[in-house]
Amino acid sequence: MLSKIVRTAANQLIVFIAVFGLYVIAHGHITPGGGFQGGAIIVSGVVMLLVAFSSHEIKKGLRERVLSVVESSGALVFIILAFAGIGTVFFYNLLLGTPLFGGIPATGPGPGNIWTGGIIPLMNFAVGLKVIAGLSAVVLALALFSSGEEVEE
Amino acid sequence: MTAILESGYAFWNPIIWIIVFIVVGIMVYFFRRQGQKEYKKDTDQTQIFLCGEEVPEAGERHIRVGNIYWGFFETLKEYYTQVLKIHTGIINDYILWFVGAMALSVIILLVAGLG
């Protein structure tokens, strides 16, 4: 466990890191980024917390069981979205042209319209969920390993 | 007849073999029936007879794997010392072989392309 200054700063910073990660996930279909990148940014915040606090403290907050459920659900949502298009073709972009995320992103300078891309933004969120849970479990497990503990089953 | 496999040079039919095995099995059974009828279970008849010597324990009687084919390994001693030298069990060596084989096949393919 590091000093109080570091811990307080980390507590505040994690909010901004999480927001930035969510931004990258949400804009995945119109700017560089996406589910994995945004998720990895958020997990970097988790790593910061792991460094600031000890791994025991974090372990109390992040239950292995919960992480496992979130990770599996993220993957399931992704696959179900892919299956949703099977009336036409697997991975077919079902929502294209519908009011929900229906538009095609415009080319050219501009802030970009998030409400486009069909199922791709939804898939980005599913992947983001999976990456956050999965990578958090990985870094937590590695941190616990190196302090000589086992993760719970 | 889906059982016959024609390779173009000969044919191969497992059914013939199975019939042969069944015939041999019946013959074996027949010969076995000719044997002694006075065999009794759970008497001294079932014990192992070793020229009157004392029979060793079950664990000692069993020929363990290390003693089988001793002569074979003795003959091929040279070969085995050479081959075991390659099998170091170190991961770095595995990758060295990989890189070596890759380089070798690149050279072979390039040289073969020249001629």
Binding site: I30, T31, P32, F36, A40, P105, A106, T107, G108, P109, G110, P111, G112, L135, V138, A141, L142, F145, S146 | L84, H87, T88, G89, I90, I91, N92, I95, L96, V99
Partner: protein
């Protein structure tokens, strides 16, 4: 505009691959070996990304693209996939090395080996 020489990234990629093979083959420490694999992955990724570069073309970003041709985004997609896969590979390797260290008490690839022949 001043472009970087076209073959410069390929040289860097070749250098990375060469150095990482040296590390993987000659360093007996398992952690260093993992670093070698990570470097090899970076070298290959750099090579792939460099393939996607076309002089004078724009990066394929919809919201920030001036007039002119856009590069095909396939090499970038390949690199990204490869990076994601390598994260999984490296995490798995590190976990195994931790277990190896726990069981044998050493990280030397020769001393920690139990199987040979």
């Amino acid at each position: 505009m001043d472009y970087i020489p076209l073959d410069f990234p390929f040289l860097a990629a070749a250098l990375l691959v060469g150095i990482s093979f040296y590390i993987i083959i000659f360093k007996k420490n398992l952690t260093k070996l993992i670093m070698g694999v990570a470097m090899l992955a970076s070298g290959v990724n750099l090579f792939l990304v460099a393939l996607g570069y076309r002089a004078g073309a724009n990066a394929p970003i919809y919201t920030d693209v001036p007039e002119g041709p856009m590069v095909m985004s396939i090499p970038q997609a390949l690199t990204l996939t490869s990076i994601v896969i390598n994260v999984a590979v490296l995490a798995l390797m590190l976990t195994m090395v931790i277990h190896i260290y726990r069981h044998t008490g050493t990280l030397d690839s020769e001393k920690s080996r139990k199987m040979k022949g």
